[in-house]
Structure formats: C-alpha cells, structure tokens
Symmetry: D2
Subunit: 355 residues, 4 copies
C-alpha cells in the first residue's frame, strides 16, 4: 500500500532500483493536453545520476517510455502508463548486502515489515523511484503552466553554507547556471567546493531546498485534513532523506503576532507582507506559496562503520560502488514535481467547489 | 472534500465553530475494544478553552456524546458517530465580521474558494474542529496502548523561551504539572510569564511542541508516498496554525553523515544513537519516534490592524471577544491525538503486510 | 470500513437501529446550493415506517436535523453533518434476540465478523440506515435538478404480479398516486391485495423496482472499473434485501446482436432504440438510463421457524413486533436517492475530464 | 479516473487496445507469496483471442512480463508492475473508424466525455484491458487458495440454450473439457453449434456466466456500502458487455419468505438451503457464494448497419476484421479473476476487524 499519490490526478508508481524497470500510471490526467515531451525528459535529466561532478558517477539514461493514455501527442484522459528501464547491473555487486543491515538505511525496517526484501541497492527504498515522480510531476507542471502557475526549486543550503536571502532576492532564472542549482553564484561555488572536499573525505552532506509556486490563484486547497500545505508537507516528507518542512516565514514561531500578520491590500488578496507563505486555513490566498525542505546527509558513506548482520553478529561495513555525497542538486526537480502534483490535484478538486 | 483522515481507521469530521454542533464519524475502529470514556473526556478537557489562565476565558463544556458504534461499553466495529454541541452564541457578536477580511485569517481564501462562508467566529476554519480529532485520537491512543505504544507531547518553546533538552532529558510524567504543559518547571514559569505579559500588550505568541511515540514496534509505515513520517507531517500541518515539522535530530541537515548515522546494535533494531527519529525508509525501526511541530503566533491580536472589507474598502480592525494569546498548551492533546491516528492507521495496515 | 459512498460527493453514515441516533456526513457537496428542505423531508416521509397500510405499523418521525455545512439556507461547501434520532424503544423487546440467530438475517455473519454485536433490531444491519442515504440522496437530487436531470423509481413487480410495460409506457407522474408506488393503477390494486393477504398469512414478499434517470447528459461515467452502471449496480446491491440488478433491455442476453444494437440518429447521441439503457462503455450516451432492482422477500416472517442459538442448540423462533411484509414501497425513495448519489458523483468527476 | 479496483489489494490498470502495451500495478499484495507463474499464464491463455473455433481468429500471445515487486519467485510486498505488449497492428485497418460512431459501441460516449479518443479498435473501451485483470486476479486466486477458497466460473447460457441445473448439479472439474467452458457436455455441443451458425450469419450472441466461490469463511465483507455482494456486482458490471447480476437463488423475488429463508443448522453457519447465496447483511456466512452474470450480444456484427459520422452525416457501416461472435468462453477467467480480486480485498480487510 501507499504507492499512490493524489486524489484526482493520481500517480501510482512501482519498481525496485535493480529490478527490470521502474514506472507508473497517472490516472486522472485531463484529456486534450498537448504534451511537451522534451520538457519531461529535461526534468528527468536534471534528476539523473552522472550528470555532473557533484553527483554520483553512476550512469542511467533514464529515458521514459510512454505506453498508453497519449494519442497523436495529446492526452486521452485515460491512464498514462510509463516505464523507465533499469540498466543492467552486476548482481554480484550486491551480494555483500544480502545479509547485512546498513546504518541509517531501510534494510532493517523493510526486513521487519515484510520478512523478505530485494537487497540489491536498496530495492524499493532507493531514491531511484523518484524518477517516476518526475515523469508525472513534469506533466503536472504543464497543466499548471496552462493556469499561469510556475514552480521553481533551488538549493539554498548545504551543511552550514547557506543562501541568506529570500526567494525574492535571488534570480530564479539562474538556478541551472551551476551544477549545484543554487541561484547565488558565490554561494554555489562554496557549496561545490564543500561537496568535493567531503567526497574526498568519504563523508556525506545534507542541506535545504527552497521552493516557490508563483501565481497560484486564490481558492486552491481544502479546509481541514487536506490543507494545501499539509499535502505539500506530506509530498515533501515522502521524498527520500527529507527530515523537515516549513512554509512561509522561517522561524515564524519566534515572532509576535503583530510582527508577522499579513495585511490584505486589495481584492486580489495581495498582502503587504507574505509571512503566511500564500496559504490561509489550508487554502491558497493569491500570494506566492513558498517553503523549505530539509535533507539529512546521505546515509551511505565511504568510511568504515559498525553494524550487524541478519544473524545479529557484529560486523564492520565498508561501502562499495559510486554514491552521491550530496543529493540536493538532483532532488531539485523532484521537489518541483512533487509540488506540481499537489497543486494540480487541488486545482482539479477546485473545479467541483461550487454549484 | 478533505474532511477525512486515515485509510483504515478513518475519522471524518464536520462542524462550524458557531453552528449547532461539531462531530464526526470514526470508521474502521476494530470491534471489541473496551472504551475508557474518562480518558477521552480528559483529553477533551486538556484541549478545552477556559481551562486555565493561559487560555482564552471563553468556556465550552466540550462533552462528547456518542451516538453509535458502541454497545455495552465496547466498540462494535461499526462506525462510531459522535457530536459535541456548540454552546449558544450571540450571533450579533459576529455581525462585524460579516463583511471584512481579518489579517492572516482564512476569511479571504474561503470567500474565494466557496463564494459563501459562515463568518461567525471562523466557521469551519476555526480550531474548534480539533475537538473532533481529540475524540477519535483518544480512542486511537487506547488501541495503541493495547500494543504497548504511548504518545506524549509537550510544549518545548514559546517565542524565544525554549527547553534546550531532548525528550530523554525531561520528565515526561511532569507534562501536566503546569498549565503550559512544559515538563521543565523553570522554563514553564518563564513561558507563563511571557504569555501574561503578551496578553497585557494585546499581542500573541507561537512556539514549538515536541512529541514522542514510545515503544513503536518495527515495521509500521509504508515505503513510498505514505511513509510514516510523511503521514505524521501531513497530520501535524493539518492542525491550525502549524507552519513546520521535523523529525529526528533537529538541524540534521547541518551535519556530516558520519556524525549522525545510527549504528544498529542488535536484532531488536535498537541503535546506539537515534538521530533518525525511529523511522527508516518510511517504516518504524523499533526506536522511539520523535518530532517537533512549529506554530505561528495566533492571528487574532487586540491591537488595531489595517485590512479591507468585501468591497475592497480600507478599514481598521479591532478584535473583540476573548481569544487565546497562545494556543500551545491546548494544542498538546491535539498533537498527541493526531499522532495516534497516524500510528493506529499504520498499525492496522501492517496486519495485511504478509501472507 | 465500508461506510462511505462516493468519491467526490461522499456520504459517510453511522448508526444502529436502536442506538441513540443514526446520521451521516456529506463531504464534497458544492457550495452555494439553496436547499429545499421540504423536498428532503418529503423523501424521508416516503421511506418512513408507518406511512400506510402496506408498511409496518411501527412509527418513526424520521425528522432530519442538520448540524453543519449550511448557512442561511445555502450549502457552505464544508461537510454537512446530520442526525435522525431514534425513538425510544423498549430494550426488553429485543432480549429474546440476544442469543439467537434468525434465519436469512445477518445475526450470524456479524457475530463471526466482529465477535460482538448490537442484537437489538438488527443493529447496523437494519434497513433503518437507509434513511441517511435518503437525506444525502435528496440533496444530490437537487444538484441533478440544476443540471436538468430527474430520477424516478417505482414498484414494477411484487412476487408474480408484474407491470408488463416499460417506463415509457407508464405515467411516471402517477407513482405516488397509490400506497405501493406502482404507476399502473390496476396492477397496484392487485399488489396491495396480495400484500394484505400475505400479511394475514404471516408471510413476506419481494419484488422488483424499476428506475429511470431522465435527461442525463452524455459523458458522465468512467471507462473501466468505475463504469457508470457498475457504480449503479454497487449502489443498488448495497440496499438491504437487493439480490439483483440489470440495466437496459431485460433479457438482452437472449437476443442476437442485430436485434438489439442501438442506431445513433444524430449528434445529440439519441438512438432509434435504447436497448443499451443510456450507457456505452461505462459512460452515459445522452439517452435515458434505466434499470431494474430485484428484492428478496423480507426475512422476518410471522411463522415459526427452526434455528439455533449462540450455543448451537436447536430452537424454534417466533418473531414478535411489527414488521414490513414487503419493503418495496418504502424502498422507492432509497433507490432514487442511491441513483442520485451515483449520478452526482460522476457529474462532479466529469468537471475534471478535460484540460 | 476510475482505473483502480480494490481498497487494500488494489489493481490499477492502463492501456489502449492498439497502443504500445497494456499493463497494471498491483499495490497491497502481501509479501512472501511464492508465485505460480504457470497458473497466471494459464488463466491468460483461457482469455486469449484465437484460442479456439468459438473465439475470434485474431492472435495475441498475451505473455505477461513482471517488472517489479517479485524477487526470487516471491512477492516483496511492494507494488507488482507488469506489462503485456500489444502486437503490431496495421493502423490503416482502423482509419475507417476515425470519423464514425459504431452502434452500441463506446465511440460516441468517449467522444463526448473526452473530446478526443484513440479510435483504433476501441482504445481504452476494448475488452483487451481485461487481460490486466486476469494477471492480478490470478495472483489473488493464489492468495485465496492459501485460505482454502476456490473460485470457479462457467458458461451456463448462450442465447436461449441454457444449463438448467445449479452449480451443485454440474461437474465443476469438467468446465475446461470443451471450448465453450460449459460443464454440461450436451448443452456445450448445442452452444458451439449455435455460435458457428451465428458466425455464419454475421450476427452475434450474449449469454450468462455462473460463478461460485467455494469454502469462503464466514466474516468477509462489510455492513453497508461495501457489502460483499455489492462489490461483486460492481466487479461484474465493470466487465465489458455485462448488463446484469444476481446472487443466490435466481428469481428469488417471486417467492414467499417462508419458501426461501435459509435455516442455520449448526455453529459452522451451514444452512439447510442456500438461497441467500452465502452472504447475509453483506458479510459471508460460511456457505458457498454463487451468482450469475448476464452479457449482451457482441456489438460488432458483420451485417450492414446504419449510423452517423462525426459530422452527423448518415452512413452505412460494414465491420471489417476478425471479431468474436460470442465472448463468453473468453470471459470465464475474467469473471473468476474479478471475483478473486473482490474476495482477496475483503479477506485482507477482515484482518483489521477485531482488536
């Protein structure tokens, strides 16, 4: 269970990292959308391993193949099935993982839940699965575009190197100007250096991604459990390695009400400040929606670590293979796509609001 | 839409703050549970307005009436319907809100979504609705107890007054020893003083609640979208005024992997450290689950504020009535109950994991 | 589980026949609908026990009380909570049922499923629960009316007394002209006589209800699992005592394709014949939707019957109290309301079909 | 929407008849099931076109390829993705369908719903999609087998040639002894003759399939909307060309209560008669579950028919290609598999019934 996301525009995904393929089904995509396949593939390339010196050197083509739901370039309204083949792997590389539990990985919790697991490279717990989210989310982005909505994410912090500016103070067109996808060029350079240094040390890094949805109309979202920001929080926390989420002004809990209340200026709903982050009572209020997502450092490190095997014996683990020191540059399109999935679903829901 | 929570153990709630009643239906509660009605009512009392000097002076009895699903003290397995009557209100008190949009409230976003709204005291956007969550959640807590799981929340920060200790370093049995529900008595005193001072200034406060689920067995949760912590994040962000959530070690994104990886010590899954917060890959790993929830300051303040009316005219607003300066003490049982709803749902799901 | 119906316009119901109350929550009702409360109550009265000589002599007022989701006569878009109080019953009347299993009742299957049950009058298995469907469905009917769609059901057969005409050959305005709700007056008289005779014999009757949805626009429904007629079938079979469903021409399986294919006449989609019953591929095609629902005879009869008690001892049962000999007249509004729930849900879904 | 079936054991399917492939995802399959791949493929072969003289002469290999969720022959608990490739088709064969609406087909209703459609061979409305149900359902059958439950369907009527015996009076082991899958050999011969004769006349046939689920334990099902038989009805009506469903004694509505009530004989729940069809109040009662499904004649016939094109012009249609005269033999495994999907879902639900 738990492999579907969305109520009307719904992605169901499948696939282990080292099985035959990963893929998914998008149900509820409106008919008549002329798809921009290049955009989808571009987003996949931004997520792909091996794209730059700050990502793992492993290579995957990550070319999506659509199997249904599209005819003569347009969506049919029927489910869109798609697959992304996994390249051939040498299963021997993973035999060492068969009987051990890696620290801060999901090996142990999967074993306890299912009593059986695909130990090759993380199986279902691998972030490889996020490629399916990018396929669906980049279609969602195209629907949003038809409504004038644009979603942009960027790396705003790696360890203690941080962009100390809001999204309004950086140039969002500059995100892809560098390989770490940080729109502040000076900070980006420092981040890249830190990643290289940390790679050399065999260690790993986490950080923060910031995301903004521009020009979201007022009225998307639901009042109680499916608050727009609650669904965004779930979407973000469902991404591998994410540990935290906040929206609107960071550290707002340390202010007085009189410091942070947003004064509505006119009937468009625009507010003098936007400390609320574009959502009130779970429903968009016509201002930009912005939020932060916090990632833990990658669990796989090149240093020796203690652990146990499946018989409970103490062992010393030494990771093999090529791993990301820091996943944030690759996570940027995943964040954008999950955001788009949430927004499109609430856009479609909003069509049934009124008589 | 969006008024249901949970997949197997599902709460659907209804009610505006100033309608006839609020209430809900719990579908999927297992049969044969002997209910402790006093515990349910005790949790409601911890959420109730007027309970102490740090909450609003408004009084509500908040007595729950069960209408179905229970027979001779035991759950039947059929839906549990319940209501909590709203006390009589003088509708005139709210006539002033009929045609204005309050800053940082949901008046405007509801108006845009629905084209109609119950302007009396927030209507559906009022936190009064959380009483229904407490009813369902305190039943969920009883099911968890039968599995040995206990959920405890407490106030760990008000504005800049913070408990700088982990949940392991405070006495969780001491939470209700003071009216702010902070287990550190010295810090609690400072918090209470700050609330009183802020009330006198006509201003409002936010803060942080910390929560821990003790003795959760390994194997609860789902791999991808319904990760246990993703559902917790959604649950927490769905509570009124919550702006952020993180689980496990705070600021984990500022560490190196080698600093924070958790080493598994034996086949119980217990780890030497628990920076991961008891969840790996979305599935509980047998360690305590702990997390923080960040609240913005209450939107209603007693100071004059600019705004507009529904015709777009500039107005000056001056709140009337009795409001909370800080909701955190009352939010503690809500956090516990939403946590319990998530955990029970995943407990029941886990029963279908294996052949 | 299983106490909700609908995907967008969703009814969740609760209540045992002899608990405090029955009721429900309608989530997803569009905002801004001006409710006709008299119509709702009129439909409830058509379902009510004690309404005529062909129904049980038990009396229930069945007055619905709305608790939320409505303000100044209009729907708010928020959940509509409602209750119908159960009148006081003498619990002693049901003590005899505590330890026995009645033939062709749900006593045994509930006991096996839950291990506990409310034995008073059927509890959750009682058809009393259908009153909640009438409340929600009669709101759904009002939404349909705004789209020009009208739903009419009538009794077309009791035992072997049958209206041998199609819905086009009877006068649908005449349904309520007699207490059995059969639009053919001569047949109605015979049905009423048969019911009276059967009541005198202490026996019970089943029959058939026919239903038609007029002026349903083309394009409602879904292609595969949620075919419009599949959802109608589920809706109908979910009504107590229903054993069968067919739509379009009865006995169509006994014809040749060339006999029954419907020829489309123009771009409105109107067909020369309508053997298909207004649906192709699960989606409405612009013609009337019509179908039949088959009810078994009432399980409670006044004759002595063999059975066993909960210890497995053989017993002889003799029913007490006042029961319906035939439920079809009362089931007519339930059929209409369940039909309306299906149609409204698919109407709202259809709003998200196209870009 | 509407391309998923099941609540816990959930199949989501995709695919147009003439797209690249059809396929699906099974979410919620318990971990640890050792799969019998031959059985799955055997069920696919029973559904496959071209299998015998009573089916279309078109050939499809219909070999399923599993992409995920299975490791070393066992289910992982993660989603099972699978595809069945469509063989190459000559798109020119279908150009004639581009601009016409076939009688009693879904061309027109899809056009109205989506404004766009894949006109090649029915697209999403083609019964080719049922192959995905067979894949999922034959896995479901294996889970049921582990619980001792067996599902058997057979052809009991073609036009007016009918097996006038109950499932107890035929030999269920004999179903596959003939190509029409009717366990009465004499009747089977007549059916086969009728099909051949009708094929020669360019016409088509419908009929009835009977199905029985043996040894279903008491306690599966839900009380109100998701009654076990309501879910079965939906499952059956969701199969292409199905127009009706009934369970238990056929024509039960024409009997008196005293004729058909089932007397419980002992605490196993076995009843002297089983007119109820193994379900009371929506919950299995420990007796065999049996039901009938009614199919209309195939819409495609080889005779000339009137229709209109998409501009509303009157046209005369003459079908080309190779079509089934009667689909019932091929529908038998589909009926079994949809039955198994319903039963497995309720089996898994039943695991959460009790504390």
């Amino acid at each position: 269970m738990g492999n579907s996301f969305g109520k009307i525009f719904k992605l169901t995904s499948f696939g282990e990292s080292h099985g035959n393929a990963i893929g998914g089904i998008i149900d509820g995509c409106p008919a008549g959308l002329e798809l921009d396949f290049e955009f989808i593939q571009k987003q996949l390339h931004r997520r792909r391993p091996g794209q730059s010196s700050v990502t793992t050197k492993r290579k995957e083509d990550d070319v999506v193949e659509f199997l249904s739901g599209i005819f003569q370039g347009k969506t049919l309204g029927t489910p869109i099935g798609f697959i992304i083949n996994n390249k051939d792997h040498n299963p021997d590389d993973y035999e060492q993982l068969k009987s051990v539990f890696r620290p801060s990985h999901a090996d142990f919790s999967y074993e306890k839940k299912y009593g059986v697991r695909d130990y090759r490279g993380g199986g279902r717990s691998s972030a490889r699965e996020t490629a399916c989210r990018v396929v669906a989310g980049s279609i969602a982005q195209q629907i949003l575009k038809s409504q004038g909505v644009d979603v942009k994410a960027y790396v705003s912090q790696i360890k203690d190197i941080s962009v100390n500016k809001t999204y309004l103070e950086v140039n969002l067109d500059q995100i892809d100007d560098n390989i770490i996808r940080c729109p502040d060029r000076e900070i980006a350079k420092k981040m890249i250096s830190l990643i290289q240094e940390t790679t050399n040390n065999g260690d790993s890094l986490g950080g923060k991604i910031s995301c903004v949805a521009l020009e979201v109309p007022a009225g998307w979202g639901e009042p109680v459990f499916d608050k727009l920001h609650a669904d965004l929080a779930k979407a973000m926390l469902s991404i591998n390695a994410v540990k935290g989420f906040d929206y609107g002004l960071s550290n707002i809990s340390e202010f007085l009400g009189s410091d942070v209340n947003d004064i509505i200026e006119d009937l468009s709903g625009k507010t003098a400040t936007n400390n609320s982050g574009g959502i009130q009572g779970g429903i968009s209020n016509g201002n930009d929606i912005y939020f932060n997502i916090y990632f833990k450092p990658v669990a796989t490190i090149m240093k020796k670590q203690d652990s146990i095997d499946i018989d409970g014996n103490k062992i010393i683990l030494q990771a093999k293979g090529r791993h990301d020191t820091c996943v944030l540059a690759r996570a940027v399109p995943v964040v954008e796509c999950m955001t788009a999935l949430v927004l499109v679903d609430h856009y479609l829901r909003s069509k049934t609001n009124k008589i």
